[in-house]
Amino acid sequence: MAELIPGIDSSQRHLGFVWGPGDLLAYETQYKPTGAQHAAQSCPFVHVVRKDEDIYSPILRKLFNESHHIFVGLQNMKDDVPISTRDTALATQYGNQVSILLAVELIWNLCEVLFIEAAPAGSLLLHLLDWVRLHKADVDEKAQEVLQSECPAEHQAYWDVTVCYILQGRIDEARQILLKQASQQPAARVTFKLMDSLLMKMPIYNPGGTQTLTEFDVKWRRWHQECDRCLQDNSFASHPHLELICKILVGDEDTLLEQREHLSTWYHFLVTRLLYCHPTVKPTELHYYAQASMDMFLDGRSAPEPLDSILLAAFEFDIHQVIKDCSIALNNWWFVAHLTDLLDHCKLLQSHNLHFGSNLREFLLLEYASGLFTHHSLWQLAVDYFDHCPEFGRVYLELQIERVPLDTERKALKVLRICEQRQMAEQVRSICKIMAKKALRNNRLGSALSWSIRAKDAAFATLISERFLQDYCTHGTFSDLDLIDNLGSAMLLSDRLTFLGKYREFHKLYAEKQFAEAARLLLSLMTAKIAPRSFWMTLLTDALPLLEQKQVIFSADQTYELMHCLEELTTGKVAPETELSMQEDNIEATKIELLRLALARNLALAIVKEGTLEA
């Protein structure tokens, strides 16, 4: 279980660590009680340690995506719809996969047969035969080779294929291939005919038929006795191959064990044994035969492997044990999580008296989804899994979605959408704030502003508006005009932002030569106290060109108000806020004089204009 970190001597040094997203960093260090200082040689490496994880496997990507699709479909399925997994695309996805997936497929199919189909005695064996045949496809390859050869009966693999067919209970195919041999040996015609008739008469249970299991059993025993008699009579003594087949038909244990190579696995041995000894096996008897078969087959030659204990647990109908063993043996929670979810939906977890049934399902799904979250794109699948974990799904999602790196705007928007759909207000605010801060650091004021608005962060919006205004004062132009022009109701987020928006509006009106409107707006910015005091000077300076137009724009009343504002400004300045140099002082004074002059002139013109009756 121990993983070795190269280059570090554990007897001399401590191992420091820190958790990362999906990994652990380990480094050499030396811990000491507080205060002690020392100098020491060091191993300069920081090691990134990861769990053996398949989430990075491109092959499994497709699998994860498919199973996600099916998972979501399953959650949305109504309860009374019978669930059949034979329609799922899962089995077909496997195709050319690594052996671990083959193991998974094997286990999954067995679970289907035992737990979901829940076949009773009679059909049970038929399903198990299907299961074995599905996982032993090499026979067909060999058979093809043999049948396509010039003289199949003399092909070296001929009898291998024949025996394999028999072992798998593929009687018709066995009969077919035996015909080839029979035609080559006319002298032994009678013997071959006998074999053929035995095979033909072999009873196969028909679940849909009218025959009861008992009737079938009786028939089968009779057939079994007939086969045995043939052996006793030495009917096949002259043909060792046919005799071998007959011994198999009779279910002779030793003979079957001798076929180890053809069977290759203990569970094939188990199913063959059942076929020829006890075809009416009941589900409850299965585990006894399974254990015995495994012991006989392995016979101390090799120790049982994890896969073996998983299959045994399945034969014992111990779902809990299957799940437990799968969790240990398999690297990724994928299989276990999905299997458990499926079983839970079939109400099988409860029926097996696991009082923590649905908690177990949730526990495993949370594990699986958390594992997906560390992947740069699979994390999106994980979201759906969390959605369907009623107890802890939401809080797990909240915790983990915050950690998704916001590399690009697009990714940030994707994450945001997920949070907004689920009313995760705090996460939305936090993500927007992080993006706003990042934009501000890189001096992208427009981006920063739009993120602050989205975050509904009034304080930050104020700050950025100030920056915009400062920029204007310094450079005389606004950046990001598009954004400011289209603020709409977002303007109301903060006073400073409102001012920024309205101020820009003033500039637009002026550019469009709507002077009267512009003038009115400018004035209202000061009188309605939307503009900060510090900006009034700039606004008044902006009024100058309006005052110096040929036509009178500001009315008399408006002019009085402007003068009032100017007075407020100048009298209010008891002590300068900042140290102004002599030169700046002079500039200030000149500006004020200019304004006073312009205002006075405008007042005069306005009074005259308003006093004159227009025709």
Partner: protein, 366 residues
């Protein structure tokens, strides 16, 4: 588990702490060589050192990142009795091309009279707050009232714990049901004061931190502690690194209205205790979802602990050094990838063995 990558950190002395930033794309390391290095992870997964600078005049014990909402901010603490706050400034374009960035010191906190042993930022919902603890037994909580101006920090609270402090941990829960809570661990070998873990809680009325609980069962020196992420539970989970690994469950007891002004009373239970390290345990840390706890001990191992759905804790992994010091001035890792590769497949082979005679042609090699 396998070693995916090894980064030559290039510190001239022992590394004392490594800290990932919030998103796991940046990393900071600090060392007895008095410097801090910042690393950035590229898209291909490689780490590049983008800054390296001298931070203190003594060994730097810990380094930690602030929440990205506050920008790119680091804090470090040192044997030189100070803690410092650093901010990254966006550099010149040619710096960016060279892949370098600049960090400047925003403030130095000099209140401690002894080595500052730990520095942690408080949970972000409390604002930008920095906490330090020292060997002089004082825990100090500083706040930057204006998050845009990181040179202004004010000392808001001083908690005198009377014992030399080695570690602090904030309860990360932002639930309104719990007031801010901080755990302080002491590695004082003094035996007269029983509990070496103290829990302080903020009181809204008095605007001060008051001691809510002392874990009296922890009598040996404590080297590290860590609150687990809350996950919507009504109780708190605290892991403690002492002569063994201990996980405590703290259940707030319902307050009677009469005494609602005092700190919360807790019922303390021990959830798990592991002495597998068979020696002093120096660090404990939770992963993000609090499903895994890692601990590092005197035996030179890092162990991973996990609870199953029945709340039974088990050790699920061990990391240890392979015993061979890396020799060579080039510092190049020797045969690291080989060691990494083979162990990755080792656990898969467990299921491979039985697959004889099944679609052999399509099996991947190894």
């Amino acid at each position: 588990m396998f070693v995916a990558r090894s980064i030559a950190a290039d510190h001239k002395d022992l590394i004392h702490d490594v800290s990932y930033d919030f998103h796991g794309r940046r990393m900071a390391t600090c060392s007895s060589d008095q410097s801090v290095k910042v690393w950035d992870k590229s898209e291909s997964g490689e780490w590049h050192c983008t800054a390296s600078w001298k931070t203190h005049s003594g060994s730097v014990w810990r380094v930690t990142w602030a929440h990205p909402e506050f920008g790119q901010v680091l804090a470090s603490c040192s044997f030189d009795r100070t803690a410092a706050v650093w901010e990254e400034i966006v550099g010149e374009s040619n710096d960016k091309q060279r892949g370098q960035s600049h960090w400047i010191k925003r403030t130095t906190l000099v209140d401690s009279r002894t080595s500052v042993t730990d520095v942690k930022f408080a949970p972000k919902h409390m604002g930008l707050m920095l906490t330090t603890c020292s060997a002089d037994g004082v825990v100090r909580i500083y706040e930057a009232p204006d998050v845009m101006n990181l040179s202004q920090w004010s000392l808001q609270h001083e908690i005198s714990s009377k014992l030399s402090c080695s570690c602090i941990s904030w309860n990360p829960s932002s639930s309104r049901a719990h007031p801010p809570m901080i755990a302080v661990g002491s590695d004082d070998s003094c035996v007269t004061y029983g509990g070496k873990v103290q829990i302080y809680e903020y009181n809204e009325n008095t605007r001060k931190y008051a001691k809510a609980e002392t874990l009296m069962t922890v009598t040996d020196p404590v080297h590290d502690l860590a609150f687990a992420p809350n996950l919507g539970r009504s109780f708190h989970v605290l892991a403690v690194a002492t002569k063994d690994v201990r996980i405590f469950k703290l259940m707030p007891m319902r307050k009677e209205t009469a005494t609602s002004s005092g700190p919360t009373k807790f019922e303390v239970q021990i959830m798990a205790q592991f002495d597998h390290h068979n020696s002093q345990v120096w660090r404990v840390s939770w992963n993000i979802t609090s499903t895994l706890l890692a601990s590092s001990g005197d035996d030179g191992c890092v162990r991973l602990w996990k609870a199953n759905y029945m709340d039974n804790w088990k050790c699920t992994g061990i990391l240890k050094g392979d015993g061979s010091p890396v020799i060579g001035s080039s510092g190049q890792p020797v045969a690291l990838s080989a060691a990494g590769g083979s162990s990755a497949l080792a656990s898969q082979n467990a299921l491979n063995g039985v697959m004889a005679g099944r679609k052999k042609a399509q099996l991947m090699p190894g």
